[in-house]
């Protein structure tokens, strides 16, 4: 009897252990789609996808993926990482267990992963991209002469959203040039409405503003040099752009003053400009502002809010600073390839375009599919721009260009607090850039 009990106990211990190990193993396979490569040819297989998209964006992307699943019978497992995408992906790659496919919001991140040899080349899509995308996008998807990224989604960051009522009240028209913009700002101020609403608590709103000024004022060539850090941040062109930026960031130009703006996050900066008692007239941010306005205020397109392109500086040609999400492949399986081929078709873009909040850099996507006139306008500006450049901060090492509380985000916030300190900020930017590039 005693002996039996001993066995039973040992068995219980071992069972517990076995259960535990099984759980570990199951956890391993559940999060790892490594089973995919093993599917025999002809069988549909499955593919795992991860992206930042949450909420309505996630629903739209899942609609795109559902069509793929329906057409190919390949099972798609979608994970939304939200703002934690970088964290989740870095950890998964570090642990040797990444998803099959991911939508990366920053080229810097793609370069990071490519350099770590975590990405698989997508050379099989080269022909399609050369034919259907403008040349800049091919370049952006390429690291060390190998094509890794397909720009499925684009964003036009050269847009200024304005409160139609506030413009009417002040009797001003959307400006075409930068001096006109400053004139409009001063008239708005006299009318008692702060001209600009700035979401300074999120540093990227400020880098976007700087990039728009820099691209127009210094030109595409300098922009590329600065992006690659072949000219320094103390370059006269940078200081000139900072001075121009300072004209916008004067305390009486900004809702809540500059100190208030530093604590205003992006979403609030939009809602406070388009709520029923607006605190400001303009928000200088990307096409996705429209989604925030319609999602969290009662404002209607055209009658309550409208958009104009970031004004030209000293006769600069129509220029667009853009962003975009690149599809990359961590595992080269037939299912992954099929998904990438599908995402390169106009059909895949049109599903999301019809649902709104989306611009496609694919030239073959028809303008008529965009759900509303404002998106059609911003999307066609993105496609037609004479000068197109990718968001400069996204091209930087992320410690410098994409981390909360340090690098460019932090320094532009310091600049917002004191827009006269051009030389000091430029010097600090150069120091931070030098450190980030050294690593």
């Amino acid at each position: 009897m005693k002996r039996y009990r001993y066995h039973a106990l040992a068995l219980m211990g071992l069972t517990a252990l076995a259960v535990l190990l099984a759980a570990v193993a199951a956890g391993g396979t559940a999060s790892s789609p490594s089973a995919a490569p093993k599917v025999t040819a002809g069988a549909p297989g499955s593919v795992s996808v991860i992206s930042e998209a949450t909420g309505p964006e996630q629903k739209s992307f899942q609609a795109v993926l559902a069509r793929f699943q329906q057409k190919t019978k390949i099972k798609v497992k979608y994970t939304s990482a939200g703002r934690q995408l970088v964290t989740i992906l870095s950890t998964a790659v570090q642990g040797g267990n990444p998803p099959d496919v991911a939508l990366l919001p920053q080229p810097g991140l793609m370069r990071d992963f490519a350099n770590r040899k975590a990405l698989k080349p997508i050379t099989f899509l080269r022909g399609t991209i050369v034919r259907d995308w403008s040349p800049g996008w091919l370049q952006l998807g390429t690291v060390n002469k190998t094509l890794y990224g397909l720009y499925y989604k684009g964003a036009n960051k050269s847009t200024v959203w304005y409160n139609v009522g506030a413009f009417r009240e002040a009797g001003v028209q959307p400006p075409k040039t930068f001096p006109q913009l400053l004139q409009v700002a001063s008239t708005l101020r006299a009318s008692g409405t702060a001209p600009f609403s700035i979401g300074g608590a999120d540093g990227w709103t400020l880098t976007d503003l700087f990039e728009n000024i820099y691209l127009r004022q210094a030109g595409g060539k300098k922009y590329d040099q600065l992006a690659a850090h072949t000219i320094k941040w103390t370059d006269p062109s940078v200081k000139a752009a900072l001075r121009t930026m300072g004209q916008i960031l004067q305390a009486n130009n900004v809702a809540g003053g500059t100190q208030g703006a530093v604590q205003t996050d992006f979403a609030t900066s939009v809602t406070q400009a388009f709520s029923e008692e607006p605190k400001a007239a303009m928000v200088i941010e990307a096409d996705f502002v429209a989604g925030v306005i319609t999602g969290s205020t009662k404002a209607k397109p055209r009658t309550d809010f409208n958009v104009f392109s970031f004004p030209s500086i000293k006769g600069s040609p129509p220029s667009v600073v853009g962003g975009g999400d690149a599809v990359v492949m961590f595992k080269d399986t037939p299912a992954s390839r099929a998904l990438l081929r599908y995402l390169a078709t106009p059909e895949a873009a049109e599903i999301w375009a019809r649902r709104g909040g989306f611009s496609s850099p694919n030239k073959r996507v028809k303008a008529s599919v965009y759900s509303d006139a404002l998106t059609r306008q911003t999307a066609s500006e993105l496609a037609k721009a004479k000068v197109f450049r990718f968001d400069l901060s996204d091209l930087q090492p992320s410690a410098f260009g994409g981390t909360v509380g340090q690098g460019l985000f932090k320094l532009f916030q310091d600049f917002l607090k004191n827009p006269n300190n051009v030389d000091g900020i430029a010097r600090q930017m150069e120091t931070a850039a030098a450190r980030a590039y050294k690593k």
Binding site: Y6, L9, A10, M12, G13, L14, A16, L17, L20, L21, V24, V86, T87, S90, T91, Q94, D112, N115, R116, R168, E169, A170, G171, V172, T187, R189, A190, S191, G192, T193, G200, A201, D202, G203, N252, G256, Q259, G260, V262, Q263, D265, E277, S398, A399, G402, T403, V404, G405, Q406, F409, K410, Q413, K439
Partner: protein, 423 residues
């Protein structure tokens, strides 16, 4: 032998868990901290050097020192005070529940609550709203708090009052144009502004919103521009002394009659332009760490109170009675009897808080907005930010983790030793 087997069988699951999730990661992290960001090159102690030379990380270490210095002591003290006081009040259960309630909320949620309460705009942030209502009683905001002069003819600053630069004599017309007045701030009953006619023995004038859609011509009273009623205008002599004052009408006009010969200046006093309370910048660079600490104490005070109250209940009453019978005052009893008897409980609370505070993370990320997270940085947040949150430098991140581990270790050992003593 058999007993050992049984023990091993029972321990095995726990040991496996410990080995997989504690021992292996610890060793791996220590090893990783000596490699660069890619993990391929051995860099010796470079990461540890970077830890003490990077401004951002030095700020984090300094802030952690502040946390360690302030929070455990304050939480223990507040917990002690609450515990002792609640023993004597009638509604002690209700009071204890209220103080303990925050413990039921996650630190992240508590952080979000305080982030909203700390917002600078008194219309949004509860803390500033409270201050604003207090300030509103002491020094109320002026009727035209946002106004600015429309032309350089009006000098001074809204903060010190605006003065018409040109001296006035009898028969002159004073035009005091103001702009930047939001439509909502135009006083009720305002009518189309009127450019007043000069009068022989007096000075007339108008205060108006010198703005119409498109801007208009500054300095000129035009159609569609509204008068500003109810504004107090002063007439000052050359020495700056106010000799007369009047209030504007619905069309913005005012008149000083029977003015003596001489030169005067028209002015609007600063009270008209007094700014409403703009709010304390709780989330700004200067106050962010104290603000986060207050939120943290709010959460943990309840824990301290409950633990200390339990300790208090266990103190033998006769000892306290004896002290009182011997003629000790309440304060002496508290200082010399209660606190020493409570010492073991107080040290448990203190040490628990010490360990918690060294690892503080979530409340900082929840309360501090992006623009002041650098100023609010603490070691655990810096570790996360460096490893995953953008910098993606696992080498440096691991070094920060090891540093934090080394800091927590002595406190942990102290605690373990105390446990052993108590058993």
């Amino acid at each position: 032998m058999r007993a050992h087997g049984v023990a091993a069988a029972f321990l095995a699951p726990a040991l496996v868990v410990l080995a997989v999730w504690i021992v292996y990661p610890t060793i791996r992290t220590i090893a990783r901290s000596f490699f660069d960001r890619e993990g391929s090159d051995f860099v010796g102690i470079d990461n540890y050097k970077a830890l003490f030379t990077t401004d951002l990380l030095v700020t984090a270490i300094k802030n952690n020192a502040i946390w360690v210095g302030v929070v455990p002591a304050l939480v223990t003290a507040i917990g002690l005070i609450f515990a002792v006081l609640t023993e004597r009040v009638r509604w002690s259960v209700a009071f204890k529940t209220a103080v303990f309630m925050p413990m039921a909320i996650s630190l992240l949620a508590a952080g979000v609550i305080w982030r909203l309460m700390y917002l600078q705009d008194p219309d949004q942030g509860a803390v500033n709203a409270l201050l604003a209502s207090a300030k509103g009683v002491v020094s109320p905001a002026g009727a035209l708090s946002a106004a600015e002069p429309s032309t350089p003819a009006l000098t001074g600053t809204p903060g010190r009052g605006l003065v018409l630069q040109r001296p006035l004599e009898r028969g002159a017309v004073a035009r005091l144009g103001l702009t930047a007045i939001p439509p909502a701030e135009v006083p009720g009953g305002a009518a189309q502004a009127v450019d007043p006619k000069p009068v022989e023995d007096g000075i007339t004038g108008v205060v108006w919103r010198d703005f119409k859609p498109g801007g208009g011509t500054p300095g000129r009273v035009e159609t569609q521009e509204l008068g500003l009623p109810g504004v107090k205008v002063e007439l000052r002599d050359p020495g700056g002394q106010s000799v007369a004052s009047t209030t504007t009408g619905a069309d913005g006009t005012f008149a000083f009659e029977d003015v003596e010969e001489g030169q005067y200046r028209a002015a609007i006093g600063p009270s008209t332009f007094a700014k409403p309370f703009g709010g304390v910048s709780w989330l700004g660079a200067r106050l962010i760490t104290p603000s986060v600490i207050i939120a943290y104490i709010w959460v943990w005070a309840g824990f301290a109170m409950v633990v200390i109250a339990a300790g208090l209940a266990a103190i033998p009453r006769d000892v306290l009675e004896a002290a009182r019978t011997d003629g000790g005052t309440e304060w002496q009893v508290f200082r010399r009897v209660t606190v020493p008897l409570l010492a073991p409980v107080l040290s448990v609370v203190f040490i628990t808080m010490l360990i918690n505070v060294l690892k503080v993370f979530d409340i900082v990320i929840a309360v501090a907005p992006g623009s002041t997270q650098a100023e609010a940085n603490v070691i655990a947040l810096a570790m996360w930010r460096t490893s995953f949150g953008g910098v993606n430098d696992f080498g440096l991140g691991s070094a920060i983790a090891v540093f934090l581990f080394v800091l927590v270790l002595p406190v942990l050992l102290l605690n373990v030793r105390r446990f052993k003593r108590e058993v």
